[in-house]
């Protein structure tokens, strides 16, 4: 527990002081293209290389194997994982004060867990309860007005910002699946011995493989057409987070047009 608190504090410090060693602190923002500074670019680039290597050797082959499974199996697996993941979304919908979405997500979870046979099928969408996107504690912090802080890359977990790293820790407290699988000790007759921590990591691992399998071609294309893959991924990650925090699918709400305005070619 103390270790966790120290970890949270150290990340909080990063959040408070975004420009650090290795960053381009003196760089003009209009030139840098991104307003999010690096925490420690050298280390992050090394982590990125490590993750890229692990992806080539482990994750990509597993994702390709998973892709070979029949489509209904993959679809059902993706649905079941998303259904469990929606529990974390409900907690965050409530924390963001978005009770409408919380109700929708809860209804989806109830319907898909029962009529959808543990989330394998998605009858909720057909009944009018559309998926309104995932939420996590990083997004909640963003919705509360917390700035992203600096950007860095975690081993295995990939790109993040100081705010989103705190969010990762917050998720463990807010995610019922994490809590159920990590509190298995029976105290005074109360507890749950049916699950173990392994169940949580199987669930998260399956989600990661499903995501990777859905993005094999997109990643290959990005890899083949980038002149600085690290920078591309950073840009895509930050754009994606911005959009998710705004809960918007509208390009015009999340894209700043000002850079285009001065360019006239006809």
């Amino acid at each position: 527990m103390i270790k966790k608190i120290l970890y949270i504090l150290s990340i909080w410090l990063l959040l408070m002081f975004p420009a650090n060693a290795g960053s381009t602190g003196s760089e003009d923002l209009s030139k840098s293209g991104s307003s999010t500074k690096e925490c420690f670019e050298g280390v992050s680039r090394a982590m990125f290389k490590l993750n890229h290597g692990l992806d080539k050797v482990i994750f990509e082959p597993i994702a390709k194997g998973y892709r070979a499974l029949p489509a209904p199996i993959r679809k059902g697996t993706g649905n079941a994982v998303d259904n469990l993941r929606s529990l974390l979304t409900i907690s965050n919908n409530i924390l963001q004060g978005d009770l409408g979405r919380a109700g929708n997500t809860a209804a989806r979870f109830g319907i898909n867990t029962t009529a959808g046979i543990l989330g394998v099928f998605d009858p909720a969408t057909k009944m009018g309860f559309e998926d309104q996107g995932k939420e996590d504690f990083g997004q909640t912090l963003g919705a509360w007005g917390t700035e992203s802080g600096c950007y860095f890359v975690l081993p295995i977990l990939g790109p993040t910002t100081a705010r989103d790293a705190i969010g990762l820790i917050g998720n463990t407290f807010l995610d019922p699946v994490y809590q159920i699988t990590h509190n298995t000790e029976i105290k005074g007759g109360i507890g749950n011995s049916n699950y173990s921590e392994h169940n949580y990591y199987y669930y998260r691992g399956t989600g990661a493989v499903d995501f990777r399998a859905k993005n094999i071609e997109s990643w290959d294309s990005l890899e083949n057409n980038s002149i600085d893959l690290y920078a591309s991924l950073k840009s895509l990650y930050l754009q994606n987070r911005k959009q998710k925090i705004a809960n918007s699918t509208s390009t015009t709400e999340t894209q700043d047009d000002s850079d285009w305005e001065e360019i006239d070619t006809n």
Partner: protein, 197 residues
């Protein structure tokens, strides 16, 4: 007789020209591009031919010069005329290679062009949907169309699931320049490397 002959020739020429021109309505313009790209991807036998046809299309329908300026950001002010000319030349080659390489992986893309939203007199956003297949999920694609010349719209950006390709490119270029101590010329070397690989 001679006059009639010229009128007929002019009429035929106009018809031919018309058949190659794209619509000035942004939504229809994107629909025509999607249809043409699909036709190229389905009917071209070789990758080289696909690449050639797609490059020709891009030169007519994409504001490559505008994207080149945008992606360089304010660094373009650091370049002299000669360097700017070289950059535009390199960018065009880089863009066409990257653009065609991304598209030739698709064999029969099914895209529904859904609607258009006028942002201001210079820009219209056209919304479309790349339909899901057994292997890939559905993808939302928004096309930023530059309409300053209303008779000749041009594509300036593709926004895939809310992620702007032009912005990503801009941040990638900025990163290359910054890791080379702000030397824009180093970006030229990187682009040359990409073009020649």
């Amino acid at each position: 007789m001679k006059k009639k002959f010229f009128i007929i020739i002019f009429f035929i020429f106009s018809l031919i020209q018309e058949s190659f021109a794209y619509s000035s309505d942004p939504k229809q313009f994107i629909q025509e591009i999607v249809n043409e790209a699909k036709e190229v991807l389905i009917n071209s036998n070789t990758k080289e031919f696909k690449t050639k046809r797609l490059s020709e299309m891009a030169l007519k329908t994409v504001d490559i010069k505008g994207i080149a300026f945008y992606t360089l950001g304010s660094y373009r002010k650091d370049l002299n005329d000669e360097q700017l000319k070289e950059y535009l030349n390199l960018f065009e080659k880089y863009f066409l290679k990257s653009f065609t390489s991304r598209l030739t992986d698709y064999s029969d893309p099914k895209i529904d062009v859904l609607s258009a939203e006028v942002l201001n007199p210079k820009y219209t956003m056209v919304k479309s949907l790349l339909l899901a297949t057994d292997k890939k999920p559905e993808v939302k694609i928004d096309w930023r169309v530059y309409t300053k010349n209303p008779d000749k719209p041009l594509i300036r950006d593709l926004i895939i699931e809310g992620l702007s390709l032009a912005r990503t490119q801009k941040e990638e270029f900025a990163s290359v320049i910054q890791t080379n101590n702000g030397e824009v010329i180093k970006l030229f070397d990187t682009l040359k490397e990409f073009i020649n690989k």
